[in-house]
Protein backbone atom coordinates (compact mmCIF):
# COMPACT_ATOMS: atom_id res chain seq x y z
CA UNK A 1 0.00 0.00 0.00
CA UNK A 2 2.97 2.22 0.11
CA UNK A 3 2.80 3.41 -3.44
CA UNK A 4 -0.46 5.16 -2.63
CA UNK A 5 1.35 7.64 -0.54
CA UNK A 6 3.92 8.33 -3.14
CA UNK A 7 1.12 8.94 -5.53
CA UNK A 8 -0.16 11.80 -3.41
CA UNK A 9 -0.38 15.00 -5.33
CA UNK A 10 2.23 17.49 -4.36
CA UNK A 11 -0.06 20.40 -3.73
CA UNK A 12 -1.79 18.61 -0.87
CA UNK A 13 0.10 18.64 2.39
CA UNK A 14 2.23 15.60 2.98
CA UNK A 15 -0.22 12.97 4.16
CA UNK A 16 0.83 10.78 7.01
CA UNK A 17 1.58 7.17 6.46
CA UNK A 18 -1.63 5.72 7.78
CA UNK A 19 -0.34 2.17 7.74
CA UNK A 20 2.52 3.12 10.04
CA UNK A 21 0.08 4.59 12.49
CA UNK A 22 -2.01 1.49 12.19
CA UNK A 23 0.89 -0.80 13.04
CA UNK A 24 1.79 1.35 16.00
CA UNK A 25 -1.76 1.13 17.28
CA UNK A 26 -1.89 -2.60 16.83
CA UNK A 27 1.50 -3.04 18.44
CA UNK A 28 0.56 -0.94 21.43
CA UNK A 29 -2.59 -2.98 21.88
CA UNK A 30 -0.67 -6.23 21.91
CA UNK A 31 1.79 -4.76 24.35
CA UNK A 32 -1.02 -3.51 26.59
CA UNK A 33 -2.59 -6.91 26.81
CA UNK A 34 0.72 -8.55 27.49
CA UNK A 35 1.62 -5.93 30.04
CA UNK A 36 -1.63 -6.44 31.89
CA UNK A 37 -2.01 -10.22 31.70
CA UNK A 38 1.51 -11.60 31.43
CA UNK A 39 3.78 -9.07 33.08
CA UNK A 40 1.24 -8.10 35.77
CA UNK A 41 3.25 -5.28 37.33
CA UNK A 42 2.25 -3.77 40.70
CA UNK A 43 -1.01 -1.90 40.64
CA UNK A 44 0.33 1.63 40.49
CA UNK A 45 2.68 0.75 37.67
CA UNK A 46 -0.02 -1.17 35.86
CA UNK A 47 -2.46 1.71 35.95
CA UNK A 48 0.00 4.42 35.02
CA UNK A 49 1.51 2.32 32.27
CA UNK A 50 -1.83 1.45 30.74
CA UNK A 51 -3.15 4.98 30.98
CA UNK A 52 -0.03 6.23 29.28
CA UNK A 53 -0.35 3.69 26.48
CA UNK A 54 -4.05 4.32 25.98
CA UNK A 55 -3.33 8.03 25.96
CA UNK A 56 -0.70 7.66 23.26
CA UNK A 57 -3.04 5.56 21.15
CA UNK A 58 -5.88 8.01 21.54
CA UNK A 59 -3.63 10.90 20.62
CA UNK A 60 -2.38 9.04 17.55
CA UNK A 61 -5.94 8.48 16.36
CA UNK A 62 -6.91 12.08 16.97
CA UNK A 63 -3.82 13.57 15.38
CA UNK A 64 -3.56 11.42 12.30
CA UNK A 65 -6.82 9.65 11.57
CA UNK A 66 -8.89 12.63 12.57
CA UNK A 67 -6.35 14.96 10.97
CA UNK A 68 -6.14 17.22 13.97
CA UNK A 69 -2.48 17.71 13.21
CA UNK A 70 -3.33 19.30 9.91
CA UNK A 71 -6.31 21.35 11.02
CA UNK A 72 -6.37 24.71 12.62
CA UNK A 73 -4.90 24.75 16.08
CA UNK A 74 -8.18 26.12 17.48
CA UNK A 75 -10.03 22.95 16.63
CA UNK A 76 -7.56 20.93 18.63
CA UNK A 77 -7.56 23.37 21.49
CA UNK A 78 -11.34 23.32 21.72
CA UNK A 79 -11.37 19.56 21.64
CA UNK A 80 -8.65 19.25 24.25
CA UNK A 81 -10.19 21.80 26.55
CA UNK A 82 -13.26 19.64 27.01
CA UNK A 83 -10.87 17.08 28.42
CA UNK A 84 -9.94 19.61 31.09
CA UNK A 85 -13.57 19.78 32.17
CA UNK A 86 -13.61 16.02 32.37
CA UNK A 87 -10.44 16.05 34.42
CA UNK A 88 -12.00 18.52 36.85
CA UNK A 89 -15.03 16.33 37.34
CA UNK A 90 -12.98 13.22 37.94
CA UNK A 91 -10.49 14.91 40.21
CA UNK A 92 -13.24 16.18 42.49
CA UNK A 93 -14.59 12.66 42.64
CA UNK A 94 -11.16 11.37 43.55
CA UNK A 95 -10.64 14.12 46.10
CA UNK A 96 -13.73 12.88 47.90
CA UNK A 97 -11.84 9.69 48.57
CA UNK A 98 -8.33 10.80 49.13
CA UNK A 99 -8.85 13.94 51.18
CA UNK A 100 -9.00 13.33 54.91
CA UNK A 101 -12.39 13.57 56.53
CA UNK A 102 -13.12 14.84 60.00
Amino acid sequence: MNEELEAEPVHAHKGPNYMTIFWWLAGFTVFEVAYSTILTPPKALLISGLVLLAGIKAVLVALYFMHLRFERKTLGIIFASTLILGAILVSVGMAEHFLPRP
Binding site: E96, H97, F98, L99, P100, R101, P102
Partner: protein, 324 residues
Protein backbone atom coordinates in the same frame (compact mmCIF):
# COMPACT_ATOMS: atom_id res chain seq x y z
CA UNK B 1 -24.96 66.87 27.73
CA UNK B 2 -22.79 68.59 25.26
CA UNK B 3 -19.68 67.50 27.12
CA UNK B 4 -19.67 64.09 25.70
CA UNK B 5 -15.93 64.08 25.23
CA UNK B 6 -15.28 64.80 28.87
CA UNK B 7 -18.15 62.69 30.05
CA UNK B 8 -16.45 59.40 30.61
CA UNK B 9 -13.55 60.84 32.52
CA UNK B 10 -15.75 62.86 34.76
CA UNK B 11 -17.95 59.90 35.22
CA UNK B 12 -14.97 57.81 36.11
CA UNK B 13 -13.95 60.27 38.79
CA UNK B 14 -17.41 60.37 40.12
CA UNK B 15 -17.58 56.63 40.16
CA UNK B 16 -14.29 56.31 41.91
CA UNK B 17 -15.58 58.64 44.54
CA UNK B 18 -18.68 56.50 44.82
CA UNK B 19 -16.51 53.48 45.17
CA UNK B 20 -14.50 55.06 47.96
CA UNK B 21 -17.67 56.02 49.68
CA UNK B 22 -18.77 52.49 49.28
CA UNK B 23 -15.62 51.17 50.85
CA UNK B 24 -16.00 53.52 53.76
CA UNK B 25 -19.50 52.32 54.32
CA UNK B 26 -18.21 48.79 54.31
CA UNK B 27 -15.84 49.62 57.10
CA UNK B 28 -18.69 51.23 58.92
CA UNK B 29 -20.65 48.09 58.33
CA UNK B 30 -17.95 46.00 59.85
CA UNK B 31 -17.97 48.29 62.84
CA UNK B 32 -21.67 47.87 63.36
CA UNK B 33 -21.44 44.19 62.67
CA UNK B 34 -22.21 43.49 66.25
CA UNK B 35 -24.99 46.03 66.37
CA UNK B 36 -28.51 44.84 66.77
CA UNK B 37 -30.63 44.45 63.67
CA UNK B 38 -34.36 44.76 63.73
CA UNK B 39 -36.05 41.55 64.76
CA UNK B 40 -37.32 40.69 61.33
CA UNK B 41 -33.77 40.66 60.04
CA UNK B 42 -32.54 38.33 62.71
CA UNK B 43 -32.17 34.62 62.70
CA UNK B 44 -33.88 32.70 65.51
CA UNK B 45 -32.16 32.64 68.86
CA UNK B 46 -28.90 30.75 68.51
CA UNK B 47 -28.12 28.33 71.30
CA UNK B 48 -24.92 26.58 70.23
CA UNK B 49 -21.49 27.98 70.87
CA UNK B 50 -20.88 28.54 67.19
CA UNK B 51 -24.25 29.98 66.33
CA UNK B 52 -22.96 33.43 67.13
CA UNK B 53 -20.19 33.04 64.58
CA UNK B 54 -22.60 31.96 61.88
CA UNK B 55 -24.98 34.75 62.74
CA UNK B 56 -22.12 37.21 62.72
CA UNK B 57 -21.18 36.11 59.24
CA UNK B 58 -24.79 36.34 58.19
CA UNK B 59 -25.03 39.85 59.57
CA UNK B 60 -21.84 40.93 57.89
CA UNK B 61 -23.05 39.66 54.53
CA UNK B 62 -26.42 41.23 55.15
CA UNK B 63 -24.74 44.56 55.71
CA UNK B 64 -22.49 44.32 52.70
CA UNK B 65 -25.14 43.09 50.32
CA UNK B 66 -27.60 45.53 51.83
CA UNK B 67 -25.30 48.43 51.09
CA UNK B 68 -24.53 47.13 47.60
CA UNK B 69 -28.21 46.72 47.04
CA UNK B 70 -29.05 50.23 48.13
CA UNK B 71 -26.26 51.73 46.07
CA UNK B 72 -27.17 49.82 42.93
CA UNK B 73 -30.89 50.45 43.15
CA UNK B 74 -30.39 54.07 44.08
CA UNK B 75 -28.11 54.64 41.13
CA UNK B 76 -30.57 52.84 38.90
CA UNK B 77 -33.49 54.97 40.02
CA UNK B 78 -31.44 58.14 39.93
CA UNK B 79 -30.27 57.47 36.39
CA UNK B 80 -33.77 56.63 35.29
CA UNK B 81 -34.96 59.95 36.59
CA UNK B 82 -31.98 62.07 35.67
CA UNK B 83 -31.53 60.70 32.16
CA UNK B 84 -35.14 60.21 31.18
CA UNK B 85 -35.86 61.21 27.63
CA UNK B 86 -36.47 64.91 27.15
CA UNK B 87 -36.86 66.70 23.87
CA UNK B 88 -33.71 68.18 22.49
CA UNK B 89 -31.25 66.34 24.66
CA UNK B 90 -29.02 63.82 23.01
CA UNK B 91 -27.53 60.87 24.86
CA UNK B 92 -23.85 60.87 25.72
CA UNK B 93 -21.83 58.98 23.18
CA UNK B 94 -19.38 56.78 25.02
CA UNK B 95 -18.27 53.20 24.75
CA UNK B 96 -17.08 52.86 28.29
CA UNK B 97 -14.08 53.51 30.37
CA UNK B 98 -11.41 51.01 31.19
CA UNK B 99 -10.38 52.59 34.45
CA UNK B 100 -13.83 52.34 35.88
CA UNK B 101 -14.14 48.76 34.66
CA UNK B 102 -11.06 47.89 36.63
CA UNK B 103 -12.43 49.60 39.72
CA UNK B 104 -15.70 47.80 39.68
CA UNK B 105 -13.99 44.53 39.00
CA UNK B 106 -11.49 44.79 41.80
CA UNK B 107 -13.74 46.06 44.57
CA UNK B 108 -16.29 43.24 44.40
CA UNK B 109 -13.46 40.77 43.95
CA UNK B 110 -11.81 42.02 47.12
CA UNK B 111 -15.04 41.92 49.05
CA UNK B 112 -15.80 38.42 47.93
CA UNK B 113 -12.34 37.12 48.67
CA UNK B 114 -12.47 38.64 52.14
CA UNK B 115 -15.85 37.05 52.72
CA UNK B 116 -14.50 33.71 51.59
CA UNK B 117 -11.50 33.97 53.88
CA UNK B 118 -13.63 34.92 56.84
CA UNK B 119 -16.02 32.08 56.18
CA UNK B 120 -13.24 29.58 55.85
CA UNK B 121 -12.23 29.64 59.50
CA UNK B 122 -15.73 29.35 60.83
CA UNK B 123 -16.51 26.54 58.44
CA UNK B 124 -13.40 24.61 59.37
CA UNK B 125 -14.15 24.97 63.06
CA UNK B 126 -17.69 23.75 62.60
CA UNK B 127 -17.33 20.99 60.07
CA UNK B 128 -13.72 19.94 60.12
CA UNK B 129 -12.28 20.27 63.59
CA UNK B 130 -14.02 17.98 66.02
CA UNK B 131 -13.71 19.07 69.63
CA UNK B 132 -12.09 16.93 72.22
CA UNK B 133 -13.97 16.02 75.34
CA UNK B 134 -17.15 15.39 73.46
CA UNK B 135 -20.04 13.06 74.07
CA UNK B 136 -20.18 10.62 71.19
CA UNK B 137 -23.53 9.64 69.77
CA UNK B 138 -24.84 8.06 66.62
CA UNK B 139 -27.78 9.44 64.74
CA UNK B 140 -29.47 7.37 62.08
CA UNK B 141 -32.16 8.67 59.82
CA UNK B 142 -34.76 6.53 58.20
CA UNK B 143 -38.13 7.20 56.60
CA UNK B 144 -39.36 9.07 58.69
CA UNK B 145 -37.71 9.13 62.05
CA UNK B 146 -34.42 9.71 63.80
CA UNK B 147 -32.76 7.04 65.91
CA UNK B 148 -30.27 8.32 68.44
CA UNK B 149 -27.82 5.94 70.02
CA UNK B 150 -25.66 6.51 73.09
CA UNK B 151 -22.72 4.23 73.72
CA UNK B 152 -23.59 3.29 77.29
CA UNK B 153 -21.13 2.53 80.06
CA UNK B 154 -18.49 0.88 77.99
CA UNK B 155 -18.23 3.87 75.72
CA UNK B 156 -18.54 1.63 72.70
CA UNK B 157 -21.24 1.53 70.09
CA UNK B 158 -22.71 -1.71 68.95
CA UNK B 159 -22.64 -3.34 72.33
CA UNK B 160 -25.74 -4.43 74.20
CA UNK B 161 -25.53 -1.60 76.69
CA UNK B 162 -26.08 1.00 74.01
CA UNK B 163 -28.97 3.26 74.76
CA UNK B 164 -31.28 3.79 71.85
CA UNK B 165 -33.83 6.53 71.68
CA UNK B 166 -36.34 7.38 69.01
CA UNK B 167 -36.65 11.01 67.98
CA UNK B 168 -35.44 12.18 71.38
CA UNK B 169 -32.02 13.74 71.56
CA UNK B 170 -30.82 14.70 75.00
CA UNK B 171 -27.49 16.12 75.88
CA UNK B 172 -25.97 18.04 78.74
CA UNK B 173 -25.59 21.77 78.53
CA UNK B 174 -22.18 23.16 77.71
CA UNK B 175 -20.66 19.93 76.57
CA UNK B 176 -19.94 19.28 72.91
CA UNK B 177 -21.54 16.31 71.25
CA UNK B 178 -19.91 14.52 68.34
CA UNK B 179 -22.52 12.76 66.28
CA UNK B 180 -21.98 10.22 63.57
CA UNK B 181 -24.72 10.57 61.01
CA UNK B 182 -26.00 7.69 58.95
CA UNK B 183 -29.06 6.76 57.03
CA UNK B 184 -30.78 3.49 56.45
CA UNK B 185 -32.62 4.28 53.25
CA UNK B 186 -32.52 7.63 51.49
CA UNK B 187 -30.81 10.92 52.17
CA UNK B 188 -32.09 12.90 55.13
CA UNK B 189 -30.74 16.06 56.62
CA UNK B 190 -30.29 16.51 60.32
CA UNK B 191 -31.37 20.07 61.02
CA UNK B 192 -31.38 21.81 64.39
CA UNK B 193 -32.40 25.34 63.50
CA UNK B 194 -31.56 26.98 66.79
CA UNK B 195 -28.22 25.24 66.97
CA UNK B 196 -27.29 26.19 63.41
CA UNK B 197 -26.70 22.54 62.66
CA UNK B 198 -27.46 21.01 59.32
CA UNK B 199 -25.87 17.96 57.81
CA UNK B 200 -27.17 15.41 55.39
CA UNK B 201 -27.34 11.81 56.53
CA UNK B 202 -26.33 9.83 53.49
CA UNK B 203 -26.81 6.09 53.15
CA UNK B 204 -23.52 4.31 52.74
CA UNK B 205 -21.57 7.07 54.44
CA UNK B 206 -20.94 8.13 57.97
CA UNK B 207 -20.49 11.80 58.53
CA UNK B 208 -19.23 13.26 61.77
CA UNK B 209 -20.50 16.57 63.05
CA UNK B 210 -20.39 18.31 66.37
CA UNK B 211 -22.55 20.75 68.24
CA UNK B 212 -23.32 21.88 71.74
CA UNK B 213 -26.00 23.75 73.66
CA UNK B 214 -25.28 26.90 75.64
CA UNK B 215 -28.50 26.84 77.60
CA UNK B 216 -31.04 24.30 78.66
CA UNK B 217 -34.33 23.99 76.86
CA UNK B 218 -36.45 22.08 74.38
CA UNK B 219 -36.32 22.45 70.62
CA UNK B 220 -37.26 20.57 67.51
CA UNK B 221 -35.22 18.45 65.13
CA UNK B 222 -36.20 18.85 61.52
CA UNK B 223 -35.42 16.91 58.39
CA UNK B 224 -34.20 19.30 55.73
CA UNK B 225 -33.68 17.02 52.77
CA UNK B 226 -36.60 15.73 50.77
CA UNK B 227 -36.87 12.07 51.72
CA UNK B 228 -40.28 10.98 50.56
CA UNK B 229 -43.88 11.59 51.38
CA UNK B 230 -43.29 11.86 55.11
CA UNK B 231 -40.47 14.35 54.80
CA UNK B 232 -42.54 17.13 56.32
CA UNK B 233 -43.23 15.18 59.49
CA UNK B 234 -39.81 13.67 60.07
CA UNK B 235 -39.23 15.62 63.21
CA UNK B 236 -37.74 14.98 66.57
CA UNK B 237 -36.97 16.78 69.77
CA UNK B 238 -33.83 18.07 71.38
CA UNK B 239 -33.51 18.58 75.06
CA UNK B 240 -30.52 20.31 76.48
CA UNK B 241 -30.38 19.79 80.22
CA UNK B 242 -28.07 19.90 83.16
CA UNK B 243 -25.61 17.11 83.77
CA UNK B 244 -27.76 15.62 86.53
CA UNK B 245 -30.89 15.66 84.45
CA UNK B 246 -29.05 14.16 81.55
CA UNK B 247 -27.52 11.38 83.60
CA UNK B 248 -30.86 10.64 85.09
CA UNK B 249 -32.44 10.50 81.67
CA UNK B 250 -29.76 8.11 80.46
CA UNK B 251 -30.13 5.96 83.53
CA UNK B 252 -33.89 5.83 83.15
CA UNK B 253 -33.61 4.98 79.51
CA UNK B 254 -31.11 2.25 80.24
CA UNK B 255 -33.27 0.84 82.98
CA UNK B 256 -36.28 0.83 80.77
CA UNK B 257 -34.35 -0.80 78.00
CA UNK B 258 -33.03 -3.44 80.33
CA UNK B 259 -36.51 -4.11 81.59
CA UNK B 260 -37.78 -4.57 78.10
CA UNK B 261 -35.12 -7.07 77.19
CA UNK B 262 -35.12 -8.69 80.64
CA UNK B 263 -35.47 -12.36 79.66
CA UNK B 264 -32.66 -12.70 77.14
CA UNK B 265 -29.09 -13.09 78.39
CA UNK B 266 -28.39 -9.57 77.23
CA UNK B 267 -29.26 -8.49 80.75
CA UNK B 268 -25.91 -9.69 81.95
CA UNK B 269 -23.93 -7.78 79.46
CA UNK B 270 -25.96 -4.66 79.94
CA UNK B 271 -23.98 -3.79 83.04
CA UNK B 272 -27.08 -3.45 85.17
CA UNK B 273 -28.94 -0.22 84.87
CA UNK B 274 -26.00 1.90 83.98
CA UNK B 275 -24.35 3.37 86.99
CA UNK B 276 -25.07 6.95 86.17
CA UNK B 277 -22.92 9.93 86.67
CA UNK B 278 -19.44 10.87 85.85
CA UNK B 279 -18.12 7.39 86.10
CA UNK B 280 -19.99 6.58 83.00
CA UNK B 281 -18.65 9.47 81.09
CA UNK B 282 -15.00 9.19 81.89
CA UNK B 283 -14.12 6.54 79.33
CA UNK B 284 -15.85 8.42 76.62
CA UNK B 285 -13.92 11.54 77.21
CA UNK B 286 -10.67 9.79 76.70
CA UNK B 287 -11.73 7.73 73.81
CA UNK B 288 -13.17 10.55 71.79
CA UNK B 289 -10.40 12.95 72.42
CA UNK B 290 -7.62 10.51 71.95
CA UNK B 291 -7.21 7.94 69.28
CA UNK B 292 -10.31 8.76 67.40
CA UNK B 293 -10.89 5.60 65.42
CA UNK B 294 -11.58 2.93 67.98
CA UNK B 295 -14.60 4.46 69.54
CA UNK B 296 -17.30 6.28 67.73
CA UNK B 297 -16.75 4.92 64.32
CA UNK B 298 -15.79 1.46 65.39
CA UNK B 299 -19.06 -0.22 64.76
CA UNK B 300 -19.49 1.84 61.70
CA UNK B 301 -19.17 0.34 58.34
CA UNK B 302 -15.79 1.25 57.03
CA UNK B 303 -16.69 4.29 55.02
CA UNK B 304 -16.13 4.11 51.31
CA UNK B 305 -12.54 4.43 50.34
CA UNK B 306 -11.47 4.17 53.93
CA UNK B 307 -11.09 7.90 53.95
CA UNK B 308 -11.56 8.28 57.67
CA UNK B 309 -7.93 8.19 58.55
CA UNK B 310 -6.81 6.39 61.62
CA UNK B 311 -4.47 9.22 62.38
CA UNK B 312 -4.16 9.38 66.14
CA UNK B 313 -3.98 13.03 67.02
CA UNK B 314 -2.39 13.22 70.40
CA UNK B 315 -3.44 16.76 71.35
CA UNK B 316 -5.63 15.92 74.27
CA UNK B 317 -5.01 19.14 76.04
CA UNK B 318 -6.24 21.55 73.45
CA UNK B 319 -9.93 22.08 73.11
CA UNK B 320 -9.93 21.55 69.39
CA UNK B 321 -7.97 19.26 67.28
CA UNK B 322 -5.95 20.92 64.58
CA UNK B 323 -7.20 20.61 61.07
CA UNK B 324 -6.23 17.25 59.85
Amino acid sequence: MQTHALGPIRAARRHIRTALFFFASLLAAAAVRAAELPRWLQLPEGVSSYSARIDGMFRLILWITGIVFVIVEAMLLYFLFRYRHREGRKATYTHGNNRIEVVWTIIPALICVVLALLSRRTWADIKQNMPANALPIEITGEQFSWTIRYPGVDGKFGTPDDIVSLNQLHFPVGRPVVATLRSKDVIHSFFLPEFRVKQDAVPGMSTRIWFDGMRTGHWEIACAELCGLGHYRMKGFVTVETDEEFNKWIADAAAQQAAEQAPPPAAGAAAPATAPGTAEQQPQIQSTGGAAPPVPGAAAVAPPGGAVPAKPTPQLKTQEKPRS
